[in-house]
Symmetry: D2
Subunit: 458 residues, 4 copies
Amino acid sequence: MFDEIHEECGVFGAYRLPQASLITYYGLHTLQHRGQEASGIAVMDQGKISIQKGKGLTIDLFTKESLKKLKGETAVGHVRYSTAGGQENANIQPIVARGLKEQVAVVHNGQIVNEKELRVELEKEGCIFQGTSDSEIILHNIQKEKGSLYERVKKTAAKLVGAFSLIVMGEDELIAVRDQKGLRPLSFSKMEDGYVIASETCALDILGLYEHTEILPGEIVRFYKGIVSRERYALPSFQYMCAMEYIYFARPDSDIESINVHAFRKETGRLLAKNDWIEADLVVGVPDSSLSAAIGYAECAGIELEQGLVKNRFVTRTFIQPTQALRDRGVRMKLSPIKDVIEGKRVVMIDDSIVRGTTSRRIVRLLKEAGAKEVHVRIASPIITSPCFYGVDTSTKEELIGARMSEEQIKDYIEADSLKFMSVEELKEAAGHVGLCTACFDGAYCTPLFSYQEKLEN
Amino acid sequence: MFDEIHEECGVFGAYRLPQASLITYYGLHTLQHRGQEASGIAVMDQGKISIQKGKGLTIDLFTKESLKKLKGETAVGHVRYSTAGGQENANIQPIVARGLKEQVAVVHNGQIVNEKELRVELEKEGCIFQGTSDSEIILHNIQKEKGSLYERVKKTAAKLVGAFSLIVMGEDELIAVRDQKGLRPLSFSKMEDGYVIASETCALDILGLYEHTEILPGEIVRFYKGIVSRERYALPSFQYMCAMEYIYFARPDSDIESINVHAFRKETGRLLAKNDWIEADLVVGVPDSSLSAAIGYAECAGIELEQGLVKNRFVTRTFIQPTQALRDRGVRMKLSPIKDVIEGKRVVMIDDSIVRGTTSRRIVRLLKEAGAKEVHVRIASPIITSPCFYGVDTSTKEELIGARMSEEQIKDYIEADSLKFMSVEELKEAAGHVGLCTACFDGAYCTPLFSYQEKLEN
Amino acid sequence: MFDEIHEECGVFGAYRLPQASLITYYGLHTLQHRGQEASGIAVMDQGKISIQKGKGLTIDLFTKESLKKLKGETAVGHVRYSTAGGQENANIQPIVARGLKEQVAVVHNGQIVNEKELRVELEKEGCIFQGTSDSEIILHNIQKEKGSLYERVKKTAAKLVGAFSLIVMGEDELIAVRDQKGLRPLSFSKMEDGYVIASETCALDILGLYEHTEILPGEIVRFYKGIVSRERYALPSFQYMCAMEYIYFARPDSDIESINVHAFRKETGRLLAKNDWIEADLVVGVPDSSLSAAIGYAECAGIELEQGLVKNRFVTRTFIQPTQALRDRGVRMKLSPIKDVIEGKRVVMIDDSIVRGTTSRRIVRLLKEAGAKEVHVRIASPIITSPCFYGVDTSTKEELIGARMSEEQIKDYIEADSLKFMSVEELKEAAGHVGLCTACFDGAYCTPLFSYQEKLEN
Amino acid sequence: MFDEIHEECGVFGAYRLPQASLITYYGLHTLQHRGQEASGIAVMDQGKISIQKGKGLTIDLFTKESLKKLKGETAVGHVRYSTAGGQENANIQPIVARGLKEQVAVVHNGQIVNEKELRVELEKEGCIFQGTSDSEIILHNIQKEKGSLYERVKKTAAKLVGAFSLIVMGEDELIAVRDQKGLRPLSFSKMEDGYVIASETCALDILGLYEHTEILPGEIVRFYKGIVSRERYALPSFQYMCAMEYIYFARPDSDIESINVHAFRKETGRLLAKNDWIEADLVVGVPDSSLSAAIGYAECAGIELEQGLVKNRFVTRTFIQPTQALRDRGVRMKLSPIKDVIEGKRVVMIDDSIVRGTTSRRIVRLLKEAGAKEVHVRIASPIITSPCFYGVDTSTKEELIGARMSEEQIKDYIEADSLKFMSVEELKEAAGHVGLCTACFDGAYCTPLFSYQEKLEN
């Protein structure tokens, strides 16, 4: 399903570490798959924040020189998949408040569903917003509460409904928070005399830190005066980790709630094969994200795994799309079949999900064009039927093929010889002890939706 | 071995095609793995050449607007891995001669070994060179010969010794040439009323053109007045296709001399496993180029294939390398092990080649750090012992670990539990009917080396 | 004194004009002498604001395409001379508030002296500041007041102490305000069915609009529903137009309070000559700003005006300054004497002001080096002895040569044969009916200084 | 006439000077008025040339870092006004030949009229041209001759017909040449233990070097082994210094053939006034280039000199021109009248030349719009009737208003109340002992024109 779903963020924090900005740079680089549109790093030095942020990949935006200017031992960073709309620059994170007494920076992954309600309330009290992001709302609320920064963040977290993994930077202080349902991941590790915090454990691993502590749902963790203190700001709740983190977003080498992402995906492949016997010659995964599931499927089904599709590694956003006329002549850019592998074969094509169906249809056609005798599509997730309001860009209901068509109709639309999705139950089985949010599959939203309820009903 | 060996070019040509520059853009994008440093497109319109070239990826360099300005139905393009040295811009291709009578553009993949001899001769006759590339020498020689452009190119080709796949653009004319030994690939396909030529067939496939004609070693092919004519400019010779094209450079979906690159690599994996029984739990390929060989090895050895290493897709040249201090703390950026997969396992790690050995050692260490009980390294090519003078950047003999150490010593150096390379004979077996140049493995250069002989002997 | 004093802004507004963004572009271009560091334009279209702003000259920042994207018939623009300090981007204007009910943009020229007091108050009420500019404070205050946008702007203006010429943009509404003392200029003209507002009349003239209305000190003017309404928000006060606007900042073709700037400067030259008879051969003005005064001096003194100094038109901020070693060898870049004109002559050199004295000394030396027999410096303004807190960047008292030295000492420092400044009285005479703020000459600040008082006393 | 005529170059050389590249940077910056489109510097260090060149102003193109990379004690530099056409980059100077034995760089100011003839000859001998400039031809010819670099340059100079001031850089060697007619200026000065060479003396002055030696027409000067040797390569001829250098191109502080440019211009103004009595109130020069002539006119006529027009200093090429609709409404960008000065006055407007007449008409209209009662235009040069083939971009004959209209008709076209040009005789009088090329005024070309003859006759 590649390039059809987008998450909007990855966050990173470094506490009491020399070269905090450089470490954050490496962290953001490793989280880049969570957002390629914009990057930013803010550092705190003696109560003053320096910041650099802008559009582009972390490694394109920052240079040795620019990192040197970001002095300080405490830092927060952010990568972002930007949504459409004017003046996006005002939404790039970290977002900074420069008060007379103190300076504060915030990075945020997720989406607040009572955003409008909070915004109205804050505006009534006279807040002025320069951008349109919910991160600005969080920052304003933090500043409006009473008490120390830690107390204000805690009060703010208790008011927020939805998905959020936050890191707030004050003077010699980082505060990390996860929402009550645990929708978005957030972990930390000790590093020398300090700490690093990251959306995914892969960004800790690359620093040689294999011991991770996951921040709990509803927990607030304070890195202050050199030590860590942990506290719950909300009542315990059943966990609702976003299923899409496991299925698509996270890097295979990350662990989420102690379950390895690659292992999860392999297990979905295995479960797909278990109750679905089909005669075929090859299993082909759609690169890159479906490779793990394909390995699991091939192993369980006893069918040969093959590399039947090649992905162009150099595709970026600035790419000039082929016109329809060129497409009709067969021109395509991102994926190519290996004809030698595919020709004359019955292929099981494993993909991680189907959103609009257009990409799946294109790949099926590619395989047929390359001579596949049959193409059996197996999707390592259930049918997406409902939009997400917790930070995944699955846009509107109308664009979701699964909201309009049955499995059989989708099969016809994508021109496959057969099609199977996983059931929600199978998916939950793959997650073992981890509770999943499966709202996009079954509409079971784990929080009230406030003004988004209306959007859902239309 | 990824990022240790570089080839220097990919070439593309479009003849009598509306939107020739756009088609060339797609072609170069698909050949981008052959060179990421610079790109260029020249088009011919009524005897006049327009050109755009510069540093950067094809998709970053060209825009819809800039392609529109490259009007004309005949085009040549080039992607380049640039060598070090001043004023590189003068070496970016295509190179153009703007005479009073006619304008000519040349693109070139390969390396001429009698370059200096030709240069001296041309300078004696008064030629002035602005850059340092052998492509400029080829262009000058073409212009100095007598007769039509076609005759001049033919005479020039006969003088060149070494590796070259050339495309020359004149008015309503493309001329494609391959060296006598067939060291570098070059193919073409009919497209509508015109033709496209490319270094690799993957760049023809993506245009929906699955029927390819390989230009023969020692052949010159003229696309002129709408038709193709083929002729030999040199005596037939045994073929010496660069083995590295199969092993590392080419995209797995390309066919070279009718042998699919992925299939070749899978076969090398199979051959590695065939005579080498080892007890292990997992086969892990070093991404991306070793995946095919890993599939072949796993299949033949009956050991489970696993995705044990994850590569960061966003690494580019501008990347800030971790300092030694950070490296010592375990920081690394490009590859990460999946601990969950590796821990406690005996791993067969498949890589395509070893150049300096430092990368292999780093990966072995990564796997051990992630808990691998044993790491057995299998290399899907022979030991590299000699430099290449035919366009592969294997630099000097001193940097080649295989020129200084035995297999056993290399094993110790890279800290593997065991190490096996392929034999040159096994490699040739995988190539079937295709004759290979294996000079980098056995020093059997297929041409005289002229002034490079001296470099070899030191 | 060129390049020693900087003002910080020029503002422009366009109301109910098709191509409002293009007209604003021309307006800002004409106000560019008031600030070259950054430019910005915001337009209002059906309640939504689009904005483009960034570092650089207006003509470098905006393109035809980018202006087309700034759709709407109401616009505000700003040019800025940026002060030092981190994250300057947050201070570039226009500054926008994006509320749920309405969007508002503000541009501001001047400096508020009760800035800190307002900031503390606003922060107490929970405002969060992202930048460090007083413009953000103005915007926040506007949003915090009660009532319609117009009422809120009016209440805000009444709270502000210091120098400000503001334009506020709401939906189909522009509101222009000048401070009670009238320190910074602001005028408007009718254009077709709409209006344009500008810091200087030269930006109205270039649109072919020679009929200007100056906004009065303490006045608020509303452009709303197609008509203009004017009202006073503050009690009348004696006027204190910034003398530096006449002396240095404004373009010679601007009128300020109906007095032409060139005419004012010529008059200062005349007054300088009137009571100061000196035998000399030539009058030379330091280009560009002192030419008007030189004409006046030459005319009144009956001494020949000559072009003795040539200014390099291509100097910009990125210029590499000559090292001291090169300077000692006589290397200099911006001004050159015409030796042929100067040699053997007694020169009256007219400059508009002296700030640190280093530039004056350099020019005197240049003239002597070119053979001037005598150099008599005449300054078309009084000695600067006090810093400005109303928007002129005369930095700290220590840097002002006039705060440390007498006229005689300055004469010796700049190595002139004689030196004369104007008296404050003469300056006021040149301004005729217009009351001037002469605080930088005599310390007579026209408002309380709040926290700046302290800075003054140190 | 500003922005209607363009010259194409300025050249600079530094010999045996530490920081040669930095000195060249300052030199080029001072010659920037001769070409703003592109800049380049090449330095020689131990037989190897390093080069940086590109589009843009010298100060925008080079940084401290980039100049540091240009190591070496010998340098040549170039500023260029680029002509239209594809692949301009190949024409940016310096142009470098990188041979096996030696490397050579060339910079060139002027235009060769037997360019095509030389090109054909060189192409016959097999030379290949990458660009379209005559500088490349000169370089090729130098390399094709026999003997030492000095001998080859000398032989080449003897073959060239037209206007050229050349600097050629070899190893520890600079060779400077001026054409036989002396059409373009070129001077040098001793600086410490080395030398600097420049198109105009203003670029020597700014280094503190007021002692200049003008290279003679037909002379070749060699800076070699630390000393200077001078020789004639051509027979003496009457001098034909380009009149436009005095009238428009050169900076007023430059001396050409020992006559100061400002003094020349002032004299043209004086001569214009001498035989032309007219009753008027003001003399206004069109900035910047006509100020000198205006001073001369005012002085001689006894009419007050005024600054009636203000030029926007920030106009660059990227400027968005007002549409005709906006122009019709009076919008204009570059020049503004000072209404206060002009209104009700009879104005003598001094300009340096008229090319197409459109600019003059625009300025006359501006002055009338600002209330001028009468506008009497006086042009400090004769009517331009013929194109230039010696390096001045006066384009085609059709575009020259003087080729199509009489003085009376031009007067009507530009809507002036009266109009007077200088006679060619008066111009020559102003030049004193210096022989002028006045071909653009009287068609008396000082060399054969070769293939350009034809262009002239059409």
